[in-house]
């Protein structure tokens, strides 16, 4: 059974790392639902958040393959209930349609959206939330003439307590007990 997973990858800032990661998904025929890249809480460490739908078995395999990449530090896979996440969407709607009556007020209030800009031609709304909430708002706005719509990738924070820093420390310690690589 396919389900939605959020992959959080902490990586070095190495050129080409995104390519290496997407190749792994492409080979396994997994579509990327959304992707965001940003700096993490640790300086110099990038955080990539990728949302995919696949099976439980397959996500374990691709996660291990990602973690194997030299420039990837740590990979976390979470189902949606293990994380707190948001997406942000911007809507550009024609003013004419929306200004009649109290429509705009209701919509903004009901959906916890925000008005960013109003001009005689268009209004720009912002909505932060889950994909389903954003799609609902989009559906509601459609009759009034949506001129543009853009939704961001997911940003996510895990509920688990152990942070990247402690993993980095563990990795450091493991390294101290290392032996010279033997090759015969």
């Amino acid at each position: 059974m396919k389900q939605e997973f959020t992959i959080s990858l902490f990586t070095e800032d190495h050129i080409g790392i995104l390519g290496q990661i997407t190749i792994i998904l492409t080979r396994r025929q997994i579509n990327i639902d959304s992707i965001t890249a940003s700096e993490s809480a640790v300086t110099g460490v990038q955080l990539l958040t990728i949302v995919v739908s696949t099976t439980d078995e397959m996500i374990q395999k691709v996660a291990r393959q990602m973690e194997k990449l030299v420039d990837v530090m740590k990979v976390f896979v979470h189902s949606s209930d293990q994380i707190i996440y948001q997406e942000i969407a911007l809507f550009k709607i024609s003013t004419k349609g929306l200004m009649s009556g109290n429509v705009i007020d209701h919509i903004v209030r009901d959906h916890h959206a925000r008005i960013l800009e109003v001009s005689p031609e268009y209004i720009v709304l912002e909505k932060t939330g889950h994909k389903t909430e954003i799609t609902e708002l989009l559906a509601q706005l459609e009759p009034y003439g949506v001129l543009q719509f853009a939704r961001s990738g997911r940003v996510a924070i895990t509920k688990q307590v152990k942070e990247l820093n402690s993993y980095l420390k563990e990795m450091d310690e493991a390294n101290r007990f290392k032996t010279e690589p033997t090759l015969n």
């Binding site: 070095e12 393959q65 973690e67 420039d71 493991a174 390294n175 033997t182 090759l183």
Partner: protein, 579 residues
């Protein structure tokens, strides 16, 4: 023109650091890493490096192959027989793309090769300049790591990192792409070997709990079987494997690349696994109640139909690459560690035991296989010469002391089946990729790596023609490798499949061949054609006794098939002895 000495004096030292060009820095780095041999091919973008190579001739021997693919395979074979990374140079564009097959081959077989490619000057990158290809993009999925260098001062650290990554953990090829301007630019040279990368930790602490539970399972098993892979050789765990098998009395089977990790003549050795492996270990995999897989990856050529693979067995998997665990076969105990370290911890925990009844089952299978397949293949009384016969004679004459190199196809399977290996790392073959054309350049690389050993390369009449130009390299450097063409005038392995699965419709598999003896002689390599059984032994003896390189073109039965065989889609227990 300046003399070499003048040039050397021109390298001034500032604060103990040499002020040298990127090209010189690259060569200094290689020397620091203990390199003495490079396989490669020059071209425009890499000329600054080649120019400096002349000044390092006393310390770095460069072998000019006839094609970059040959250089890549030779470097890989060199690494496989010496245990040290192979080094391969190529220029930008076509030089770099000619490496691709060789890089992929090293990647699939986990062999450390450091590939250095040159790139056009950095200001031209991205403009489709003359001989510019995006080799970083091209090689991304077939290298363990790759990196482009555009500034000379980045060369030492990048090379140090490349060596560390190539050698450690599960080894593999790395590629460093150096722009021409970085080769020419000067830097203050200082080298420090790399032993730590924050995002990469090949030194996995021992999973002692898992090993302890494995020991309990081993101590209670009734029909246990060890599957030994290439990882045994890579981690240098041959002695530990032997000690473990001898203490527990558990029979050992080997993957193709695992061959020579356990002596073929050992009483506990049951043979090779997989599609053309031995009867016993394939058949009895499905009777085992415990499988201890060490340094192997359950490739589909080993497992056959996964749905019917080892269903009666609990599986313990010792493997350094976590991504290989539970990839193809779901296992019961994961031991994500180096084979040698894991075995060292495991051996004291297991009890002394013996499984004579279980081993007798293997011996019964061996007898069947001997009567039905091995005897007619290795000691035929009449008819044309058979491949197995040639390999067997070589095995007997060399007493298992030679290094055997193969190409791909029937010649490869037969060489792996009938040579009796006595020493670790004495089989060099293309396992994961099955690259035709590997044999000849790999033979060259193996002989350069181990000049003290008799190196014999078996090739098909098809495969040799993919890289036959390397006879030129063998001639130029007088590399005394012995070449045996098992000549059936067919792309034998494909013909076998046509015979078995495509109604004997031999579509494009018959070859009209040149006179290989004449070709060899044109390169001044002594050669001889053998067609009669009575000439075989003396010709092999003559070849092995000769000082230099030698080529034997042996006419083999045209339509011989390799058996046993686990047909595609079949289970290992459905292995066939005939058809």
């Amino acid at each position: 023109m300046k003399t070499v000495q003048e040039k050397e004096q021109a390298t001034i030292e500032v604060n103990g650091q040499k002020h040298i060009t990127g090209a010189e820095a690259l060569l200094e780095c290689l020397i620091e890493e203990g390199v003495d041999t490079i396989f490669g091919y020059p071209g425009g973008a890499i000329m600054p490096v080649y120019d400096k190579l002349m000044d390092y001739e006393d310390r770095l021997k460069h072998i000019l192959t006839r094609h970059e693919q040959g250089a890549a395979h030779a470097a890989q074979a060199y690494a496989m027989v010496t245990g040290r990374p192979g080094i391969c140079f190529a220029t930008s564009g076509p030089g770099a793309t000619n490496l691709v097959t060789g890089i992929a081959n090293a990647f699939l077989d986990s062999v450390p090769v450091v590939f250095i490619t040159a790139q056009v000057v950095s200001s031209l990158i991205g403009t489709d300049a003359f001989q510019e290809t995006d080799i970083i993009g091209v090689s991304m999925p077939i290298t363990k790591w790759n990196c482009q260098v555009k500034k000379s001062h980045e060369i030492p650290d990048t090379i140090a990192k490349a060596f560390y990554i190539a050698k450690s953990g599960r080894p593999g090829p790395v590629l460093i792409d150096i722009t021409k301007d970085a080769q020419l630019e000067k830097l203050n040279f200082k080298y420090k070997k790399c032993d730590y990368i924050r995002s990469y930790n090949p030194h996995i602490p021992l999973h002692t709990k898992a090993i302890e539970s494995a020991a309990i399972m081993i101590n209670h098993a009734e029909r246990p079987l060890i599957l030994a892979g290439h990882g045994v050789l890579i981690s240098g765990a041959e002695d530990e494997l032997k000690a473990f098998a001898e203490k527990t009395g558990i029979p050992v089977a080997s993957t193709l690349l695992g061959l020579s990790g356990f002596p073929s003549s050992h009483r506990l050795f049951t043979g090779m696994l997989g599609m053309h492996g031995n009867y016993g270990p394939n058949l009895l995999t499905n009777e085992a109640d415990l499988i201890i897989a060490i340094g192997m990856r359950f490739d589909d050529r080993v497992t056959g139909n996964l749905k019917k693979y080892a269903k009666k067995a609990t599986i313990i998997h010792i493997e350094i690459d976590e991504a290989e665990i539970n990839k193809n076969v779901v296992v019961d105990v994961e031991i994500n560690n180096d084979a040698k370290e894991a075995l060292k911890y495991l051996i004291p925990l297991v009890k002394e035991n013996s499984f004579e009844k279980w081993i007798r089952e293997f011996r019964i299978c061996d007898k069947t296989e001997y009567e039905k397949v091995i005897k007619p293949e290795t000691i035929p009384e009449k008819g044309e010469i058979k491949m197995g016969e040639v390999v067997s004679r070589i095995s007997e004459i060399t007493k298992g002391e030679a290094i055997i190199v193969t190409d791909v196809g029937q010649n490869q399977m037969v060489a792996a089946r009938y040579y009796k290996f006595n020493h670790p790392n004495s089989l060099v073959t293309s396992g994961g990729m099955g690259t035709m054309g590997f044999g000849l350049p790999a033979g060259l690389g193996a002989k350069i790596g181990r000049p003290d050993k008799q190196v014999i390369t078996f090739v098909g009449d098809g495969g040799i023609q993919m890289t036959i130009q390397e006879l030129g390299t063998i001639f130029q450097y007088n590399v005394p490798v012995k070449i045996i063409i098992l000549n059936n005038n067919f792309l034998g392995m494909v013909r076998q499949w046509q015979d078995m699965f495509f109604d004997k419709r031999y579509a494009s598999t018959e070859l009209v061949n040149p006179d290989f003896v004449m070709i060899s002689k044109a390169y001044s390599i002594p050669a001889k054609k053998v067609s009669k059984r009575e000439d075989l032994n003396s010709s092999l003896q003559e070849m092995l006794a000769s000082e230099g390189p030698y080529l034997l073109d042996i006419a083999i039965e045209k339509e011989g098939n390799v058996f046993p065989m686990v047909e595609p889609g079949a289970s290992v227990s459905e292995i066939r002895l005939t058809y």
